[in-house]
């Protein structure tokens, strides 16, 4: 997935000399290829993220296409106001790349973990939000970020969960859900984004559930969410992000208004990480490991589709 990211960035920069990569002194090995092949388009702006985002807005004002890279804890979180005021207010074509979102930096603690970035960026007017699940979605997301020609936040989370698609995906239309598994309509359907999409797929295979991947979180297609709601007994959202303001919130905003259904939001509860450990450990701490999710999913199936659920256990 990181290779797909690097490849896409190099490809876009080679095709358009106006593409610039700005980094806040992060991405040591990640940008080796970019620095080798597009050295003049690489700018290390120093450990000064606020200035970096403002500067990207200035570069965009005079015709450049800045891609601004940082850890999600810093870009966007540290720079939310610069994104709002300097970038989004004027619909400038700046792509914000937030790496390590969720609990990727599980050992480093709260400063490097980011579970509020989708919530913060979703509320900024005109800012598109992307959250790819695998290398194929990453490639398509990078292409979409460039094609958008406006402000975009691209969230990069845990990147080694494996593919969820069998091969390259079509160009991303903003907001469209990608169905990655068709399952029973009398049981809950799963909508997942980023790293949790693999978990959703694994669980769906156990129970023959439908799964949709949401690489494009804002805008989010009313039509697609309603269709998913109609073709299931309820919806379960999965994300390595707070249950407040993220994918789950976006889905319920739509269903509550257009297609009322039960929605189980699986994400990070309203709390910081308590302990240190591996990524898998922290997922357990927050109830996002596959066993914890399976248990909640089971209860939700019993609750929303008792008859159908009975056929599963039979």
């Amino acid at each position: 997935m990181r290779e797909a990211f690097s490849n896409a960035l190099v490809r876009l920069a080679l095709a358009d000399p106006k593409v610039l990569l700005l980094t806040g002194d992060h991405g040591y090995a990640l940008f080796d290829e970019f620095r080798k092949r597009c050295p003049d388009q690489y700018i290390n702006a120093g450990i000064a993220e606020q200035n970096m985002v403002g500067m990207a807005a200035g570069l965009a004002r005079v015709g450049f296409r800045p891609f601004v890279y940082g850890l999600a804890a810093f870009v966007p979180i540290r720079t939310v106001e610069q994104i709002k005021l300097d970038v989004a207010h004027d619909s400038l074509p700046v792509v914000l790349l937030g790496d390590g979102a969720g609990f990727v930096y599980s050992h480093l603690g709260t400063s490097h973990q980011s579970t509020e970035d989708i919530a913060c960026t979703r509320a900024i007017p005109g800012l598109e939000v992307l959250s790819p699940a695998d290398r194929f979605e990453m490639t398509a997301s990078m292409d979409r970020a460039y094609a958008a020609n406006g402000p975009v936040y691209l969230r990069m989370g845990k990147s080694d969960r494996g593919d969820v698609h069998a091969g390259p995906v079509d160009a991303i239309s903003p907001g469209r859900l990608l169905q990655i598994r068709a399952g029973r309509a009398d049981l809950p359907g799963l909508i997942a984004t980023g790293s949790m999409t693999r978990t959703a797929l694994d669980l769906a295979q156990e129970r023959d559930l439908s799964v949709w991947s949401a690489p494009s979180l804002k805008p989010l297609s009313v039509q697609d969410v309603c269709a998913a709601a109609r073709n299931s007994s309820g919806l379960v959202t999965l994300e390595e992000h707070s249950v407040l303001g993220g994918l789950g919130a976006a889905v319920t905003e739509i269903t509550s208004e257009h297609q009322p259904t039960r929605v189980l939001r699986i994400g990070v509860p309203d709390r910081f990480s308590e302990h240190c450990g591996t990524h898998a450990y922290l997922l357990r701490e927050h109830g996002l490991d596959i066993d914890s999710v399976r248990a909640r999913l089971h209860a939700f199936c019993q609750d929303t589709a008792p008859t159908a659920a009975a056929t599963l256990t039979a």
Partner: protein, 284 residues
Amino acid sequence: MSIVAPPATDNRNAPRFAPAKMRRIVLEMAYAGSTVHIACAFSIIELITVLYRHHLRYPGNDPRAEGRDYLVLSKGHGVMAQYACMHELGWLDDSHVQCYFKDGSDLKGLSDSRVPGLEVTSGSLGHGFSVGVGVAMGLQRKRTEQKVYAIVGDGELNEGPIWEGALVAAHHKMDNLMLIVDKNGFQAMGTTDDVLALGDLAAKFSSFGFETLEVDGHDEVAIDTAIRRLWASGPSKPKALIAHTVKGKGVHFMESDNRWHYTRLNAQTFADAINALGLPGAST
């Protein structure tokens, strides 16, 4: 956006932008809109008039001309001074002055980049300078002769991104960028010395790698000379002009009285202020 009425004139040669006249427009706007920040605008009047009269280039008098110089008003609180100059340029008309702050009007109380002629959305301090650094970097990469001027307040220098931007500007040898500090000695709640002392600003910016000059920020000839000297000072260094100014300058009862950061005009103070400008026939 309904604003833009560019008559094709060369603003550099016109004997316009008389400071007292600019201050009168500020007072008229502030009175019409019952707004604040009059003193913040008054301290930069001479700085901004010298820039518009002698330095800023707008091909075709078009505020959005691609080849223009950029005036970034990072201290967005002084925006009425810029509106006054934009009125002089024909980019704003009398109705913009008279309808300031009316429901549905375009001009806000702080700089808003959607208004042609304003380059940044500021007022949240410490933003405009960074955007200006980015514009300067972009123009540098395009190898144009265009210049970027960024006016920051001394109070605004409390903001961290200013110093981040200063490091970056020097590191990238942005000799097309001039930082102008409106050193009026006040910020919202008191003097800069009392709130957060800035020390020797010229020494600070020099040590950051800027070519730096200090100037009386109300002496138009001195400002013009200093700006020319800075641009002539040789390549590879960004420029800093530390302008010593008086908050509220031009109306004696507002000068260095920080209440005029917040105070609104009434009929009497408006008349007194207009009279204090000493414009011919200005008696109200």
